[in-house]
């Protein structure tokens, strides 16, 4: 075998398992998605729109039913043929509830049902109108019908250009699958290892021990030749708990936004980050380009606080900023800095850094009873092309992370979710604008940048999907 056609990729973390149903977990997806397993559709990184993959075309039969044509001549890595039956099996495996399926999270509480029409045609029915079904289906990895239904697996068999060769405590190895339906990839073998220290991953690519590593820290991205920045679909923000005084006062919430020295804070995340004005990144259907991020205006912030104080708002009462350790690089420092800035503005903010499990209690409903006025550090990832993966969670009163409770807003969101095409985007933009200007339920910070170091041997560039997949087939070797 030609050694030069084998590459080594260093991931930040060991994949706990290789269950195709968990590809939305970064380190599983980066190995499996588009390499071992494929879905019916794939999201185009630039437009956010679904493109054909294992489905060649699709049509909306009625409000709740979509019909997909399955690509003919596709074989699973175990030699079986891809049929509508197999796709239906994969969907049932995910939705059946006999095992825990992480990818289900993207479906929220929707119920879907797949019925094969003929060998290569599949009908998918949802319990309510679903305009973005093709987008949703990009997370359903199609697996061989031999896969057990009731328990997760570590030896996935899919239709992708690579098949799993080995998986142990130190590495995952993929091999080119010769029966692949599409173009033959250049890479023959890929070895995945993991190191959590960013500087070491960077060093490994530098010394040639590895060829590629995603998400290195900004301070390690020192070589413009090999280190590529890309918008990584993550948006960072501070969520404001609107139910507790003094945070239930709009002036205070605005002051919180205005008091930050944004330019200074940006230093922590590098010049490539983009200030955020909303919780979804550009390229997502519904993102409003025209929406302006908050400016930094400490004077006005102080004035607002004073005004609120005059109006009897208990501005002196303690506000807890709950941070999460290791949430993103320099996250702790950012929180420290912001606390210092708010204190400057006359707000009594205290920082508590928690570990994930503890922090999650504050993130998700039901929130702890005794929480008091809290601000919560968070990061939201939407790489699925549609604001539907963002808006209902944050701004609908039933949303998992929502602190807003506004029936009028709920209604607007429901209509937006049911519409499609141009109107859908317009509706979402309106909601984002409202959230930014009228509700102020959060302090949007940045659309984050990831840095990937790519060895000199490879010809490949990361993009917004890199956080969820690294398609080996797209990697070319120089000369």
């Amino acid at each position: 075998q030609d050694a030069s056609k084998a590459i080594k990729i260093v991931l930040p973390e060991q994949p706990a398992n290789l269950e195709p149903c968990g590809t939305i977990i970064t380190n599983v997806g980066q190995i499996l998605s588009q390499n071992v397993t494929e879905a019916l559709t794939v999201i185009d990184a630039k437009t956010g729109l679904p493109q054909p993959k294992l489905a060649t075309e699709w049509t909306r039969v009625d409000d709740t039913t979509w019909r997909f044509k399955i690509r003919p001549g596709v074989k699973f890595q175990n030699g079986k043929d891809l049929t509508a039956e197999a796709v239906a099996f994969s969907i049932k495996r995910m939705t059946g509830g006999t095992m825990t399926c992480n990818n289900m999270a993207k479906f929220g509480d929707r119920k879907i049902e797949a019925t094969p029409v003929d060998a290569l045609t599949l009908d998918i029915k949802s319990d309510r109108p679903e305009p973005i079904m093709p987008t949703l289906l990009s997370v359903v990895m199609v697996v061989s019908p031999d896969t057990p239904v009731d328990k997760p697996v570590n030896d996935p068999v899919g239709t992708g250009p690579f098949k799993l060769a080995s998986f142990d405590t130190q590495s995952v190895a993929l091999e080119r699958f010769d029966g692949y339906w599409g173009a033959k990839p250049v890479i023959e073998k890929a070895n995945y290892v993991w190191r959590s220290e960013s500087s070491i991953r960077a060093a490994m690519v530098e010394t040639g021990e590895a060829d590629l590593t995603p998400s290195i820290a900004i301070q390690d991205a020192t070589n413009s030749e090999t280190d590529f920045a890309y918008l990584n679909s993550e948006t960072t923000a501070i969520r404001i708990d609107m139910s507790k005084p003094p945070l239930n006062d709009l002036r205070i919430r605005k002051a919180l936004n205005l008091a930050i020295d944004w330019e200074g804070l940006t230093q922590l995340f590098g010049d490539d980050v983009k200030r955020a004005s909303q919780m979804a990144v550009p390229g997502i259907n519904g993102h409003d380009e025209t929406l302006k991020p908050w400016e930094s205006d400490p004077a006005q912030a102080a004035a607002l606080v004073a005004e609120a104080k005059a109006a009897g708002v208990p501005v002196d009462s303690e506000i807890t900023l709950i941070g999460r350790n290791g949430i993103y690089p320099n996250g702790g420092e950012a929180m420290e800095a912001m606390v210092a800035m708010w204190r400057e503005a006359g707000l009594n903010v205290k920082l508590t850094m928690l570990d994930v499990a503890d922090w999650i209690r504050y993130l998700q409903k039901p929130y702890p009873e005794e929480r008091g006025a809290t601000l919560l550090q968070m990061q939201h990832d939407n790489n699925k092309g549609d604001a539907a993966f963002t808006i209902p969670i944050f701004y609908r009163s039933t949303g998992q992370y929502a602190t807003v409770s506004d029936p009028a807003l709920d209604k607007e969101i429901d209509t937006a979710l049911a519409t499609s095409g141009e109107d859908r985007a317009k509706d979402f933009k309106m909601i984002f604008a409202k959230a930014r200007n009228d509700v102020v339920a959060d302090i949007p910070m940045y659309h984050m940048i990831g840095y990937t170091r790519v060895g000199k041997r490879l010809d490949w560039h990361p993009d917004i999907t890199t956080n969820s997949e690294i398609p080996l087939a797209n990697i070319q070797l120089k000369n």
Partner: protein, 307 residues
């Protein structure tokens, strides 16, 4: 004879201090260590009021300022950290929490471990067994899990931090003490003391403990660094010290990602931790020599007869 007695009773207190001082003078390294520690204590007590809020004030535009640059204020001489705060100021202000936590934790673990070890080693009763098995259990209990449990049930605070650190470091003292006691209690002078009617307490405290203490001090002096660094890794869980408070350990941990690019962020705090530990060790090995009558001459000025 009366003259002799009055001679001996002359202010024994200052006499002792004088001997200690004389012996300290003879060991230059130990003397340097003492001076360093004294300076540290002074800086800890007097430093923070002088430094004011320099240590916590952000200077995002001086982020990761390199050390030894003369363009900036002297306070930036050792550089600035990731939020542009002067490292000198942070070292001084961080000393208080660092030393407080480390001393408290090391002292607690040494005392409890030492006492339990004396009991476990000297007594052959059932509780000796229990103590030892408990020590085994503590040893096998991952400190991180303990920290998490404390965090969830009691919440983060300095006291809890000290408890966690002390608790996890305790077995080493316990087991070392016990090991030494096992041998010491077989010595003749212990039999002699028993035959005189000395209570177990007295034997343990007067006869055995003084011979175990030097080893414990040796371990404790080095444990100081372990505890400081362990404290910083607990901040990873949120159990460590909470910002805006900080310790040297937290500073080191903060600079960890910058070793390749801005080494000074974690180097300086690492260096003071090292110097502190080094000083404590030099002092403990001096104390060990001083406490041993057979070795003490090494610290005395020996006047030879002219020949």
């Amino acid at each position: 004879m009366t003259a002799l007695i009055s001679d001996i009773t002359v202010s024994p207190r200052t006499g002792k201090l004088r001997t200690i001082w004389n012996c300290l003078k003879r060991d230059k390294l130990a003397l340097a260590a003492v001076i360093f520690l004294l300076l540290l204590v002074i800086a800890t007590l007097a430093g923070p009021p002088l430094i004011g809020d320099l240590a916590t004030k952000l200077g995002l535009r001086q982020r990761n300022l390199a050390p030894f640059s003369f363009q900036h204020d002297w306070i930036y001489f050792l550089g600035a950290d990731t939020l542009g705060r002067p490292i000198i100021a942070r070292l001084v202000v961080g000393a208080q929490n660092t030393l407080g936590i480390a001393f408290a934790a090391v002292l607690c673990s040494m005392l409890t471990g030492g006492i339990l070890g004396l009991i476990a080693g000297y007594s052959e009763r059932w509780y000796s067994q229990i103590i030892q098995r408990l020590a085994d259990v503590v040893m096998s209990f991952p400190s991180l899990l303990l920290a998490l449990i404390v965090l969830y049930t009691l919440g983060p605070s300095i006291t809890n931090l000290v408890i966690v650190l002390a608790f996890t470091r305790m077995p080493i003292y316990l087991r070392t003490t016990r090991a030494e006691v096992l041998e010491l209690r077989e010595r003749m002078f212990v039999s002699a003391a028993i035959s005189m009617g000395a209570s177990p307490l007295r034997i343990v405290v007067r006869h055995i403990a003084p011979l175990v203490l030097p080893t414990l001090l040796t371990i404790a002096a080095l444990d100081f660094a372990t505890v400081i660094l362990a404290e910083s890794s607990l901040s990873f869980l949120g159990l460590g010290i909470q910002p805006p408070d900080f310790t040297w350990g937290a500073m080191v941990a903060n600079g960890r990602g910058y070793l390749a690019n801005a080494w000074w962020i974690s180097f300086w705090p690492g260096l003071v931790i090292l110097l502190t530990t080094l000083s404590l060790n030099l002092l403990s090995s001096w104390a060990r020599t001083f406490a041993d009558p057979q070795q003490r001459w090494r610290l005395q000025s020996l006047r030879k007869t002219p020949r």
